[in-house]
Structures are given as C-alpha cells and as structure tokens.
C-alpha cells in the first residue's frame, strides 16, 4: 500500500520540480472557443519567439483548458515567479509575438492587450469544479496530480470506509447538478445499500440542453477530475464498473477521456486493486448518437445497452434495477467533478459556500445578449443581477435586459422584475424555471417571447421519443398552436387550448421530457402574456381565406411581422 502512496507523491513532487524550474509559464487557453478564434496561431507565435531568442530554458508554454471568458478569446496568461499573473485578451499572432518579445523577453508587459484579473468577470467567481481550468494541461495526468489530483481518491481508499465517504458527501449537501437537484449523498446511500456484485456508476455527460456546455468543458479540460469523482463514488457505493455517457457531438471530450482512462490505468489509478487494496474499478466510454431524451436516466441506460433510448416508468429506480438488471447510479458530470474537492477540503468547507438548501457552487454557461459571455462558476445564491450586470457586463448595444432563460427546454424565463432572485434550486423553481444543467441565456428587447416558446416546443417535439401519447402528440399540437398564434391565425380560444394542453402534457407524460416540455410556454405566458395577446385575432378572422381547418400549413403567416408585434408588446409590458 505504501508503495502506491509514495508513487503518487513522487509524481506530484517531480512534476512540481520540473515546472518550478522555469521562471515564467505562459498558459494559453486551448479550448474550443479560443482555438476557433486563432489560439493555435497565437501560441505558435509565442513559442516561436521563445525558441528563436533562446528563452526555452526560462519559459514554459502550455496549452490549458478553458479560462472562461470566451467572448474575449484567445486568452493568454503569463505567470512569473514572484510576480502577479498577467492576463491578455484577444491575443492574435501579432500580439502573441509582442507578448513574447516585450513581456517574456524584456520583462515589460504589453499594457494595451491586458485584461485585469480584478475584472468582475473573474473576481466574482468561486472555483471548485473549474479550479484547474486554465491552470493545467488536460493532456497530462502528471499535471493533474501535481495540482492535488487523485489525492482524495487515495485518502478515501486508504484511510476511510465506504460509509464514511458517503457520509462526507451527505454532510456536504451536494445536490445533483444535472437539473433535478436530488441530494447526491442520498443517491449514493441508496446504491451502497443495494446488494449486488455488479453495481455500476454512470457519469451523465449527455449534455443535451441547447445553450449548455459546462459538462463538455469539464470533460475536455479536466477529464481526470471526472474519473476521480467516479472512482470515489464507486468506492463509496461498492460499484465495480463505470460508464461515461458522452454526446457524439463532443468528439474532443471523447478523445480526452479515452486518453485520461489510458493514463489512469497505466498509473494503476483505475483497474484492479487500486492503491494496493481490495478496491477495483474500471471505466468505459459510451457515445450517444443525438437524442435529447437520453439525458433521462432510464433512456440513458437503454442507450448504453445499445437500444433505442426510450424511458421506462420509475420505480424501480436505477439504484434497484439499472444496467442489465443490476443496481446502477447516474450522476451528472458536474456533480461528480465536485466530489474530489469536497473530499480534499471537507464537507464543512463545501457546505459553507452557497445557501441553506443549495450548497456549493454552480457552473453556468453564460450566453446570449451580454458583453461578456463564457463559462462561470459562482456560489449558489448569487443574484441574477450580479451575474448579468457585474460578471456579464450587462446587455450591449444600448439595449435593455428582458429575460434570462435557464434550464433549457425544461426551464423557463426569468423576467427583469425578478432580476434580484438568488440563483438556487428552490428560488428558481418558485419562479417557474429550474436550475437545469446550467445554461443561462440572456435576452434583450429584440427577442419575442412567443418565438422563444415556439423554439423550445419545436425542440421538444423533435426530441420526443414517441413512446407515450401525451408527449408525442401533445408537443406536436402545442407547436402547431404556437405556429398559429405567431402566424396571426390564433384566437382567444387558441390560447385557452394551449394552456389546457400544457396542463395535460405536464401531468400525463411518462418522463421528464414531456412533464417539463410545457415549462417554456407556461413561464413566458405567465410573465409576458401581453405578447401573446397582441398576436390574437378576432374569432372568425383566422379562418378567412384558409382552405382547411386550424393550423393548415402554408397559411399566410408573416414571421417578421409577428416578431415586430411581439417586440412592441414586450415594450409595453416592460
């Protein structure tokens, strides 16, 4: 056992020694967003000058994961021994060369390209899940270990009992980050209680909500954190097998995870007799094929087993009967990514962050009509206003904030009058939205709410798996009614019908997809009813000139005009 401990310590020590031999480190954001903005060219330029001027002994250039502020990428951070970090934004090849020559070479930072790290975008964040982002090279397990990685797993396996680990997670108050907010510790306890030698852990990386990319970033940029979280969960619950279910739309995440699994196996951090004890655990990747419903637990398991991703009724819950009939537990990627830090720093430390019922932090993908967009991690309970005005820098172009959408197709819109709402599970629920997986999309006056509702309804209609009637037919019908309204063919009766149908679909659908599909309609109707009412035409007028009954395709709808009227109504309601 002690051999293994020394092993981990050695790797960390050696890596830190190697890294500290360089006086300067240039951390270049190498995530998808920055790469598409030309990060590779910037990094090549920096590396070129470093080599050319013989600074290679002194300067280390590393491609890291996401630094968060995607709208100002490519981002480059220069770290010098004994000095404050300097961050550069919008770095192209030319700026890269200047940074290398002036800052790295002559020790004079390039002031005009700098972005203060005191900028509220960074200063207001608290990083738990994202603590390694922009700090480590996601391709190297040594870098993860040097930053404290796998220490929590080692301590759990060598010094704690499984029940003790479950207890820590329970005390931390960690709740599921995939949307539902079920207490993670309780779920772990359920699986721990199940008797079977074939238990499995599933990391849900089927991040299907449009507008969310937190899990992708964690899987791509800190893959070992996910593996460590899974291994700790397996130790705590007695699971022997792990699956990571990743969307096929995330090929980089798949490759990074595959590589991470190979590295972890080589270091005996996965596989048989981990840290020399009885505990053995293996992880396999399963790739989705484009089906939103597979985010639902039972559908996800069907997909892992190579079947159509259609959900089944619960109970029995997966912790009783999961993959191939054996007890299984599904945790969201972000939930698992919290675990190593919780174990390392203690349940109390974690529980001190956030609010009474929502402990810890939440990662949000901040997008839409904002000055600063990107990936942020904030303590639960921060207000929407702080996120939008301080971190997000407000709505650009002289427009005004109208609503923020959370929870994707299962969530709702939060209007400006609730901008001081704290972001936690319960407050969002009370407003008719949900925390969801963390997509936060900001809309300004240009966006017409009935069109937002139609957008999500079309999504749910396309993604309904078709197994149960309320969802299959209901989403279709609701979409048609929204089409009629927006196309200027809806009467007061259409609106009544839409509301009735929302209720039917919500209460009668088999799984979460159908049960929550009406949420975007209900929440926009609740807060922006006048926009819908402005679209209504008098009874009878909607039939004029139409060959058939309601909703006939090809009717004289004018989306542009509808958008304009919606906008006008929005101004009235604001």
């Amino acid at each position: 056992m002690s051999n293994h401990e020394v092993d981990l310590f050695d790797i960390a020590h050696k890596e830190r020694e190697e890294q500290s031999a360089f006086r300067r480190t240039v951390l270049c954001c190498g995530s998808t967003a920055c790469l598409s903005g030309g990060a590779q060219a910037a990094m090549d330029a920096i590396q070129g000058v470093v080599t050319e001027k013989g600074m290679a002994q002194d300067v280390r250039v590393v491609a890291t994961g996401c630094m968060g502020l995607c709208s100002r990428g490519p981002l480059v951070k220069v770290r010098t021994r004994g000095e404050e970090d300097v961050l550069y934004a919008d770095v192209d090849a030319g700026t890269g060369r200047r940074i290398a020559e002036e800052h790295l070479g002559a020790g004079k930072p390039v002031e005009e390209a700098q972005l203060s790290l005191q900028h509220p975008f960074f200063a207001r964040q608290v990083r738990v899940v994202l603590e390694n982002m922009g700090e480590i090279d996601p391709n190297r397990i040594e870098d993860y270990i040097a930053h404290g990685g796998y220490r929590a797993l080692r301590d759990a396996v060598t010094t704690m009992t499984p029940a003790g680990v479950v207890g820590v997670v329970q005390r931390s108050g960690l709740r599921g980050r995939g949307g539902g907010g079920y207490p993670a510790g309780s779920k772990w306890a359920l699986l721990a209680k199940a008797t079977s030698d074939q238990k499995s852990i599933i990391a849900n990386g089927d991040e299907g909500d449009p507008g969310a990319y937190m899990d992708r970033t964690v899987m791509e940029d800190d893959p070992h954190r996910v593996l460590e979280g899974m291994a700790i969960a397996a130790f705590a619950t007695g699971a022997v097998k792990g699956y990571i279910y990743v969307r096929a739309e995330y090929p980089v995440a798949v490759r990074r995870l595959e590589q991470a699994i190979r590295q972890a196996k080589r270091h005996k951090l996965l596989g048989k007799n981990i840290f020399g004890g009885e505990f053995s655990f293996d992880v396999e990747i399963r790739i989705g094929a484009g089906a939103f419903v597979c985010g639902e637990e039972t559908a996800l398991m069907a997909s892992i087993m190579g079947q159509r991703g259609t959900p089944v009724l619960r109970p029995p819950y997966p912790t009783e009967r999961g993959l191939w009939g054996h007890p299984s537990m599904i945790n969201n990627v972000e939930t698992l990514a919290n675990v190593p830090t919780i174990l390392r720093r203690g349940a109390d430390w974690f529980a001190d962050i956030g609010t009474e019922t929502s402990r810890g932090t939440k990662v949000f993908a901040l997008a839409g009509k904002l000055q600063n967009t990107g990936l942020i991690e904030v303590p639960m309970g921060i207000t929407l206003r702080e996120i939008i005005e301080e971190i997000g820098g407000g709505v650009p172009g002289g427009k005004t904030f109208k609503a923020a959408q959370t929870g994707g197709p299962s969530g709702g819109c939060i209007p400006v009058k609730h901008i001081d709402t704290p972001m936690d599970y319960d407050s969002l629920m009370a407003l008719g939205s949900i925390m969801g997986s963390g997509g936060l999309i900001v809309m300004d006056d240009d966006v017409a709410m009935p069109e937002v509702a139609r957008f999500f309804m079309r999504f749910c209609m396309d993604e309904s798996c078709g197994k149960c009637l309320p969802c299959r037919a209901g989403t279709n019908e609701m979409h048609e009614l929204l089409e009629a309204l927006i196309g200027g063919r809806g009467t007061a009766a259409t609106l009544v019908r839409l509301e009735t149908l929302c209720d039917v679909v919500r209460t009668n659908s088999l799984c979460g997809l159908g049960q929550t599909a009406p949420n975007p309609v209900l929440s926009t109707l609740h807060y922006f009813r006048s926009e819908y009412e402005a679209l209504l035409v008098p009874e009878g007028a909607h039939l004029a000139g139409l060959p058939g009954a309601h909703g006939a395709p090809g009717a004289p709808g004018a989306p542009g005009a509808a958008g304009a009227s919606g906008q006008a109504a929005g101004e009235r309601s604001a």
Binding site: A212, A248, A289, G290, I304, G306, T373, G374
Partner: protein, 194 residues
C-alpha cells in the same frame, strides 16, 4: 428472430454472410471495428457510428451485415438506427455545413445563417444539394454558446458568424477538394501526449 440475445454474451465470430466483395477496403475496416467490440450486441450504437464513419451513411445492405454480425434481428438494428438523429440513411454532400440552432445561436440569429446558405447555394435545410456538393445540417447545440451564432464548415467552427462570412467560408470550402471524412479532428489541438 423473436428472441433478443442477451447483451455481452456474444462470442467472437465472423459475420455470417459478408455481402460485399472482399477487396472492398471498407469491409476490412468494419470487420476490425466489429472485432474491437467483440461482436457484442450492446455495442450496436458504436458499430453504427463506425459504419457511418466508414461508408458516410447507413445503407440497407450494411445494416443487414451489422445485424448478422451482432446476431440481432434486422428490425432491431433498423429501430435503433432510426431512433438517433446523427445517423444518416442517404449519402451526404462532399462538404457539410452545420448551423448550430441551440438557444444562444437562436437568440443571436441562427435563422439568418440558414437562410443565407439556402438562398445562396440552393441547398435545402437539412438536406443535400442535387449535385451532392453540399449538405446543410442543423445541430441542436455544438456547445460553443460563447461564440454564438456559430456554424461548422467541414467541422471547422465559424465563430460569431454572419450570413456573409458563412457564405464566404463555404465558397472557399467548395472551391477545394472534398472534405476528409474526419475533418472534425482538425479542430482539436491534442498534442497526443499520452
């Protein structure tokens, strides 16, 4: 035919009836993939991904071969293949334009991007141009919301796109040779440090 085999039980065995001539290199690629998953029925989705990578789409012939190899009823293979959006049953164009229609992109004007491409190139939304030069697809969300509106041209992101810039990127792509099947790889900067 009526009995579903238990997943994970498939022993290594060659496909019962190879439908394609043995000199088609694609058959060898598919066989390699089947061996890699040890002909396990629960690896069906992985195998279908491989088929699409190798052949570009799922043809009835190849689906039959897959059913045979995994000892699954053809109806089950067909059922799974048609359930998931990413599988295509028709050959795609030489170049592929994917417009993200996620929420952030929707808010920032993904519709205008789609319109720009359909109007300029006469390719139908979600379809392929008659001469098979170009396919226009919609993606649910490519997870690049900070760059909205975003589109992919042969797997390479066009960030904060405008219809004009997207059309220009497509013109450039169309003027070059057909995209490699795995153009998406180009967006990755993995040094392969493993």
């Amino acid at each position: 035919m009526s009995v579903l085999p238990t997943p994970g039980a498939g022993a290594p065995r060659p496909p019962r009836s190879p439908e394609r001539p043995a000199d088609d290199p694609r058959v060898a690629l598919l066989t390699t993939q089947l061996k890699k998953v040890r002909y396990r029925a629960d690896a069906l989705i992985d195998v279908l991904h491989a088929v699409q990578d190798i052949y570009g789409y799922l043809s009835p012939d190849v689906l039959t071969t897959v059913a045979d190899a995994l000892e699954l009823p053809p109806s089950r293979v067909q059922g799974v293949a048609t359930f998931y959006h990413l599988f295509s049953f028709e050959p795609r164009g030489d170049h592929i334009c994917t417009v993200c229609t996620g929420t952030a992109c929707f808010v920032k004007g993904a519709d205008a991007l789609l319109e720009g491409v359909t109007d300029t190139f006469g390719v139908p939304k979600g379809g392929t141009k008659e001469d098979r030069s170009l396919s226009l697809l919609e993606a649910r969300c490519i997870g690049s919301c900070g760059l909205a509106p975003a589109a992919l041209v042969d797997g390479v992101i066009v960030a904060k796109a405008t219809p004009e810039r997207l059309v220009e990127a497509l013109r450039t792509a169309l003027a070059t040779a057909p995209a490699a099947a795995d153009a998406a790889e180009a967006t990755d900067a993995d040094g392969g440090a493993a």
